[in-house]
């Protein structure tokens, strides 16, 4: 489908645990995400969710199978091209914000643009400022990220993930470390961006409350995709 942001075909992943013993963690995953989808990826610990997320995020390569991202076949790309594609099409949000403490909030949001273009310019700063304003972080833009609260830090991290206006945002337990209120604020922001810009979100979560607010729920158990269903409740709300 032309509008597919992501297409996985028979993707498997094995890890060597002392040669020649190999453990297959993912067994033939097929998954497509269309533009504008807001998808929860759930499953018990050790089911292979993180491994799957790393493969989708082009941080790791599959043992077998094909991964196409925004229409581009990734299996044959070398490390350099993979890095470039990753930087331009995917935004990452992690459980722990992983902001770079040597920079201000604004500079952290600019970072993906700076990494991509090499030199800072005014448009990057403006873009970062817009995102921060949007996330109600304007007054903190010039502050070092270490001085922000956990919820603020995670919002900066989400802003950073959106800086390049990526086609796909991968979020690994984005609210796992936040209290309920901050968690709701962060989630609502992602949802808003999704609706406004048509950005596809894939969110790994343990929180059934959050999963219930996604449009589609994909469940992985023991390295297999066991269920993939639309979430009737939210679809109804749309």
């Amino acid at each position: 489908m032309a509008d597919d942001v992501l297409a996985l075909e028979a993707v498997t992943k094995s890890f060597a645990v002392g040669t020649p013993v190999e453990v297959e963690v993912l067994h033939g995953i097929d998954l497509t995400l269309a533009r504008g989808e807001f998808v929860a990826l759930i499953g018990p610990s050790g089911s292979g969710k993180s491994t799957l997320l790393n493969l989708i995020g082009l941080l790791d390569r599959p043992t077998a199978g094909r991964i196409a991202l925004a229409g581009a076949e990734t299996t044959r790309l070398d490390d350099r091209d993979l890095t470039r594609l990753r930087g331009r099409t995917i935004g990452f949000v992690f459980q722990y914000h992983h902001l770079i403490s040597a920079f201000t909030a604004e500079e952290n949001v600019m970072m993906p643009l700076l990494v991509d273009r090499g030199f800072p310019d005014a448009t990057m700063r403006a873009r970062a400022r817009d995102l921060l304003e949007r996330f109600h972080l304007g007054p903190w833009a010039e502050q070092g990220v270490a001085s922000l609260s956990g919820g603020q830090q995670q919002r900066v991290a989400i802003a950073r993930a959106l800086a390049m206006d990526p086609a796909l945002v991968l979020a690994d337990e984005p609210t796992g470390n936040l209290d309920t209120r901050s968690s709701d604020v962060a989630f609502d922001l992602m949802r808003e961006i999704n609706r406004e810009r048509g950005t596809t979100f894939l969110i790994v979560t343990h929180d059934p409350r959050l999963a219930a607010r996604c449009d589609r729920i994909v469940e992985v158990v023991d390295g297999r995709l066991v269920s993939d269903r639309p979430n009737v409740a939210t679809n109804g709300a749309l």
Partner: protein, 408 residues
């Protein structure tokens, strides 16, 4: 963030500023290391220059003297050796054969700056009942003084050297109790003698020379030593003092006279200098190594501390080369900043040391030679050392697997 600064520079400088304590300590370490090198090198250069000045004050770069006389065994027509022992002949004071033509030839050589003919030999300097054995050096002021700056070394009087005048050293004057205007009788071994008026006292900075050498006009010396029209030596100065050895060999080969360079006649001094230079070089290498290890260890720690940040930068699209450069730049900056402070420290302590350390007679212990190329070199080398030291940690950072780094 400045618009002209590339991402790698921005990140490197921010990382260094954030790890303020670590950066400060390692910069202090580099400072001390570079300071020691600058200090030591400058002292060594100064002292070498001082020693060379002292040596070349009273000496030409090359001295041409007649080849030694040798006895040749007499052979019969049937080539049978008739003499079994060959005694080395005594070496008379002789003139260089055809010295005028040799002098003219040398004057035309491009690397030669001055040539002067001299006659020297031993004599007794007699004043009343006191006498001292001296070396009479007979010179032409206009050719000799550009080589040995006798007028500049005078403490009293003048050095015109008319035929009945003599210039003697301060030490000899003290020994004989004479001063300017006094008469001095010079008697050679052949019995010839001349009466000279002392017109100048010199101090060439070398006690032996001040005690032994007496300077008279060339013709006076020729008459005194029985070498009318002769020259026992040709003194030569060169554009490059260190080329003396080679030039001397070339002269010897082409003229047949013996040519001694100041490097040969002062071999001991050069041995000492060489030892000092090699000691200095090994200290430099060791200091550079310890600086390198210091920088490397700080950066290794920094890579470990920042592995999550490196991972996230990689995830957001930073290439391995960018990560590599961030850490190489940090190494270079630590080296550069340390070397700037170190040069300042070295020069500062040099100035203080120079002011405090004095010879017994109150003169300076070593001349303060502040060559600005030294800090420039120190900075360049320290920066390079820093970049090299950063190589291992930088490669390690660049190779970090973002998955592993982020999960940490």
């Amino acid at each position: 963030m400045r618009r002209w600064q590339p991402f790698e520079w921005i990140a490197a400088l921010r990382f260094l500023l954030e790890g303020r304590m670590q950066s400060l300590f390692i910069v202090a370490g580099v400072t001390v290391g570079v300071g020691v090198i600058v200090f030591m090198s400058a002292i060594l250069t100064g002292m070498t220059a001082n020693m060379m000045k002292r040596i070349l004050n009273s000496q030409a770069h090359i001295e041409l003297v007649p080849a030694d006389e040798i006895a040749r065994p007499l052979r019969g027509g049937d080539a049978v050796l008739r003499l079994e022992t060959v005694q080395r002949p005594t070496q008379r004071i002789r003139s260089i054969d055809q010295w005028q033509s040799i002098r003219d030839r040398l004057t035309r050589e491009p690397e030669v700056t001055h040539v002067a003919a001299t006659v020297s030999g031993s004599a007794l300097a007699v004043r009343g009942s006191a006498s001292r054995s001296v070396t009479v050096v007979a010179v032409e002021p206009e050719t000799y003084f550009p080589i040995v700056d006798l007028p500049g070394a005078l403490t009293e009087g003048h050095a015109r050297l008319a035929s009945d005048e003599v210039v003697i050293g301060t030490e000899l004057a003290k020994e004989l109790g004479v001063s300017i205007g006094d008469r001095l009788r010079l008697t050679s071994a052949t019995g010839a003698s001349v009466n000279q008026t002392i017109t100048g006292l010199f101090d060439l900075g070398n006690r032996g020379v001040n005690l032994r050498n007496v300077y008279v006009a060339l013709r006076t010396g020729q008459a005194l030593l029985g070498l009318i029209g002769g020259a026992t030596a040709l003194e030569v100065t060169l554009t490059d003092v260190y080329a003396a050895e080679e030039v001397a060999r070339a002269i010897q080969a082409s003229t047949g006279v013996e040519a001694d360079s100041w490097i040969t006649t002062n071999a001991q001094f050069f041995t000492v200098m060489k030892t000092q230079f090699s000691t200095n070089t090994s200290i430099r290498v060791l200091v550079a190594l310890s600086v390198a290890f210091g920088i490397a260890s700080v950066l290794v720690v920094s890579v470990v501390q920042r592995s999550k940040e490196i991972g996230i930068l990689r995830a957001m699209g930073a290439k391995r080369g960018q990560i590599l450069r961030i850490f190489l730049i940090q190494g270079g900056v630590l080296g550069l900043v340390g070397s700037l402070f170190g040069s300042a420290m070295g020069i500062g302590s040099l100035t203080i040391f120079h002011a405090l350390m004095r010879n017994a007679d109150g003169s300076e212990f070593f001349p303060l030679v502040l060559d600005w190329s030294l800090p420039a070199w120190a900075a360049a080398l320290a920066t390079l050392t820093g970049v090299f030291a950063a190589a291992a940690p930088a490669v390690r950072a660049a190779r970090l697997d973002p998955v592993v780094a982020i999960r940490g």
